[in-house]
């Protein structure tokens, strides 16, 4: 009796997993195709909306670039110089020193000859007290806010208050922006009056050659983890976000480069200080606010504005980052649970949010369960090993196709990897990704979900012993691969 029940359970679970597999891959494939056509269409009309007129800037959108920094004494100089060379008619840079405990402020003060300014700072959005406002003697459009430590959202809110421009562009301190990025993002505002948020492609800077604030050559990163992340980012940005944004289901614009209409941002209450992933929260919050108010709005992802960002190339930082992302997603979905499955929010509520809930948030649980189930079924002899191996191969190939699809999409974008060896290496890593990395990634995300449930709201969970974590991850990584190898041998022997 109990055996029969467990058989039924196993059957059910198997179907569930199969359904999961079919749905997630179909959705990704559809997004890939949508994205392909959307990108082509966008490329066609690119020239049409290039604003070349340079008259009275009062009639154009002006931009405040917000750069929140915390303990960046080594990189702050180069980051600011890269922002100063942005090619745009009317923009200012607001650096928010979020209570750094190192020499960040002193470096800024020396390098840019800061002097105290009486700049008026209206208290529109809430944030921790600002101790001083400074201007640069070298660059009239550079402003520095020195404030008590809050979190990133807190710092950004202070920046929004200080801004006197139409558009807010927030960037990360470890990002490098293409000089024409602001002009390119302006296009979203030229095309659609209702635009309130714009995102661009984030690409991985590791490996590429930068010289004196200029990108000299686009090269793939050298490390294994770097290359794997190239595959991930290509997928995530080229078809994930562009695809979702073309069906109005966008729920995140990366904090590395995000552009908002300042008035819309203020209207929706700015960045949420208590949230873990402020970049995802702000978008979903805007969706909710504007739909509730019945105001038409538009959020866009464009394939051209390119921002280069440094990604962690070791296990312990990467796992902490992914853990945080997962907690951020969980937090936002929880805060906006009313929207999930709510027809009032259209595609977003009926499709995008439920998809993110089931496949992005709970997916790791299902996927890890499926491995366990596979293993159990195999040792009990209920599953044919040949079938198992073939199924895994099938799944892997599907993933690879999605990845190569995005490599192809990359062709349509602004600055693809040009070296053939990079194309091959990325493709090979799209295969490798499935063995070891994928499983570990799901494990981190599952941990993130659990940490969220345990109410862990820290920005980054402190890692007491990074070396140990790294070694541990390599061991895990090795043993997963050993398992796959054993499986293969076992299948071949039979």
């Amino acid at each position: 009796m109990s055996i029969a029940i467990s058989m039924i359970l196993v059957d059910l679970l198997t179907y569930l997993i199969l359904a999961y597999f079919v749905v997630i891959n179909t959705v990704y494939l559809v997004l890939l195709v949508i994205s392909f056509f959307a990108t082509r269409q966008l490329n066609k009309s690119r020239e049409a909306y290039k604003i070349t007129g340079l008259f009275d800037s009062d009639l154009y959108k002006s931009v405040s670039v917000l750069l929140p920094v915390f303990n960046e004494e080594n990189t702050i100089k180069s980051t600011v110089y890269s922002l100063i060379q942005l090619d745009f008619n009317d923009f200012e840079i607001i650096i928010i020193n979020d209570g750094s405990t190192d020499e960040t402020f002193e470096v800024l003060e020396r390098e840019f000859e800061l002097f105290p300014s009486e700049r008026f700072l209206p208290e529109i959005l809430p944030h921790k007290p600002v101790q001083g406002i400074y201007r640069s003697n070298l660059f009239p459009n550079l402003l520095v806010l020195d404030k008590e430590n809050g979190k990133k959202a807190d710092a950004l809110n202070a920046g929004v208050n200080a801004s006197r421009k139409d558009v807010i562009c927030n960037v990360d301190s470890d990002s490098w922006l293409e000089p024409n990025i602001l002009q390119q993002m302006l296009r979203a505002f030229v095309e659609d009056e209702k635009t309130i948020a714009v995102g661009g492609i984030v690409r991985i800077a590791n490996g590429s050659i930068f010289d004196r604030g200029q990108l000299k050559q686009t090269l793939a990163p050298k490390t294994f983890l770097g290359k794997i992340q190239v595959v991930e980012y290509l997928r995530s940005f080229l078809f994930g976000r562009i695809g979702w944004s073309s069906v109005d289901g966008l729920i995140i614009i990366s904090g590395a480069f995000a552009v908002f209409d300042r008035a819309a941002l203020i209207e929706t209450g700015g960045y949420k200080r208590e949230s873990i992933g402020e970049d995802i929260e702000v978008i979903v919050n805007m969706h909710q606010h504007f739909t509730d108010k019945g105001k038409p709005y538009s959020m866009r992802y464009l394939p051209e504005p390119v921002c280069w960002t440094m990604v962690p190339e070791n296990w312990h930082q990467l796992s902490a980052q992914r853990n945080r992302w997962q907690r951020g997603l969980a937090d936002t979905l929880f805060n906006h649970k009313k929207m999930i499955g709510n027809p009032k929010y259209g595609w977003l509520g009926m499709f995008s949010l439920p998809f993110h809930l089931v496949f992005e948030l709970l997916g790791p649980l299902l996927e890890l369960m499926s491995y366990l189930l596979f293993f159990l079924l195999m040792i009990t002899g209920l599953l044919d090993p040949a079938f198992a191996i073939l199924f895994i191969l099938f799944a892997v190939l599907f993933g690879v196709i999605l990845s190569i699809g995005s490599v192809l999409l990359d062709e349509l974008t602004y600055k693809p990897y040009t070296r053939l060896s990079d194309v091959f290496s990325i493709t090979i890593h799209a295969v490798f990704e499935n063995f070891g990395f994928r499983q570990l990634h799901f494990w981190w995300r599952l941990r993130g979900l659990l940490d969220y449930l345990r109410k862990n709201k820290e920005w980054n969970i402190e890692d007491r012993n990074p070396k140990l974590t790294n070694t541990f991850h390599w061991l895990w990584f090795g043993s997963i691969n050993l398992f796959f190898a054993a499986l293969l041998v076992y299948g071949l022997v039979l």
């Binding site: 009486e118 008026f120 030229v190 044919d384 196709i401 190569i404 490599v407 693809p416 091959f424």
Partner: protein, 374 residues
């Protein structure tokens, strides 16, 4: 059952494997071709820029150049790109020489053919060329005009932009009007066209302004565009039409649907620095409590150079207004011409002015002997 499933899986794997290889081949192939093409183009660009400079420095005559282009039809797009990069920086003789070159038949014929191709990408390429061409024949113009009815909005926009290169005000106004019929055109997209609508030539100034006033009073055109044009008339300095805009402001009934247009007129008059508008702005502020009008008035009053305007501006520091309004007013006061600071410092703020904001203004303007009447 199991064996069937396995067979199915095998088939699936072969299929996916095939697709993988295919995609990979395409990726590698396109990348190689593109790389080659890019290098080829770079080389050509160098070669063509040398020839172009030879022409500008009168070492190569126009007819020799024309023969070269006829013999190298593939040079047209690259030559246009190089010429355009250069002509954007130049005026006078050099600019005229480049314009003369671009109006050669091989160029115009090539691009006019693209215009007829029916393919959006090619039409765009042609329109980008034509918008840089300063002297167009009426035949060319009329061919672009047909595109003003195209189903793709960006093509209509690009066609309107191209017609803005025409010397004839009437033709330009016609295209502008056609574009304005589409309510979905954004303010920025419209400004881009307006920017090109305005010629540096003073003789056309009056005529242009008159055409614009015709558009902003045309009931067939969506109100949002009429509002945008009213602002742009200020931004582009059609001073002779200030009176006309003011009359409009006086005569348009203060109704809900007209509010954005009224606000735009205020904004435009502000940019025109028209002091006679102050009385009218004051009247409207009394008639309505619309946020849009208030905001536009704050900006306009700070622009119109005059103590009367500033006096009214000070009222918005009162705490009975929204904090946002107080903040915007403060920022505008701070941005007022430094010449007025002395005068501002003698002024009393309204009784119920927000003390924090007043303090910030005093701090930023940097007046030591500031008397805040609190």
């Amino acid at each position: 059952m199991v064996s069937q499933a396995i067979e199915l899986l095998w088939a699936g794997i072969y299929l996916l494997g095939g697709i993988t290889l295919l995609l990979l081949t395409i990726a590698v192939f396109t990348r190689t071709v593109k790389k080659w093409y890019r290098e080829h183009r770079e080389n050509k660009k160098k070669e063509y820029s040398t020839i172009l400079i030879g022409y500008l420095t009168r070492n190569i005559t126009l007819d020799k150049f024309e023969i070269f282009i006829k013999n190298h039809p593939d040079s047209i797009t690259a030559l246009f790109k190089v010429s355009n990069d250069l002509q954007k920086n130049l005026k006078g003789t050099d600019k005229k020489l480049i314009q003369r070159l671009l109006s050669l038949e091989p160029f115009t014929n090539y691009y006019l053919n693209l215009l007829e191709s029916g393919k959006e990408r090619k039409i765009m390429e042609a329109l980008i060329f034509l918008r840089e061409l300063e002297t167009m024949t009426s035949e060319q113009i009329s061919r672009i005009q047909t595109l003003l009815g195209h189903r793709e909005r960006y093509i209509v926009h690009a066609a309107a932009v191209a017609i803005m290169a025409s010397e004839d005000v009437k033709e330009r106004a016609y295209a502008l009007k056609a574009l304005c019929r589409d309510e979905q055109i954004t303010r920025l997209a419209l400004y881009e066209v307006l920017y090109r609508f305005r010629k540096r030539d003073r003789e056309q100034w009056l005529e242009e302004g008159t055409e614009l006033t015709l558009i902003i009073t045309d009931p067939a055109i969506p109100l949002n565009h009429r509002a945008s044009i009213a602002i742009a008339m200020g931004g582009m300095g059609y001073y002779y039409h200030s009176r006309y805009l003011l009359d409009l402001l006086k005569n348009i009934p203060v109704e809900e649907k007209n509010i954005p247009f009224l606000a735009a007129l205020i904004e435009g008059l502000g940019m025109l620095h028209y002091p006679e508008a102050i009385v009218e702005i004051q009247r409207l502020l009394l008639l309505t409590n619309s946020l849009l009008i208030t905001r536009a008035s704050i900006r306009a009053l700070s622009r119109i150079d005059g103590k009367d305007g500033l006096e009214i501006l000070f009222q918005f520091l009162s705490q009975k207004y929204d904090l946002q309004i107080q903040v915007e007013t403060a920022i505008q006061i701070i941005n007022v011409d430094v010449l007025y600071y002395e005068w501002i410092s003698d002024k009393f703020f309204p009784e119920d002015a927000n003390p924090i904001i007043v303090e910030q203004i005093v701090a930023e303007i940097g007046m030591d002997n500031f008397v805040a009447g609190i």
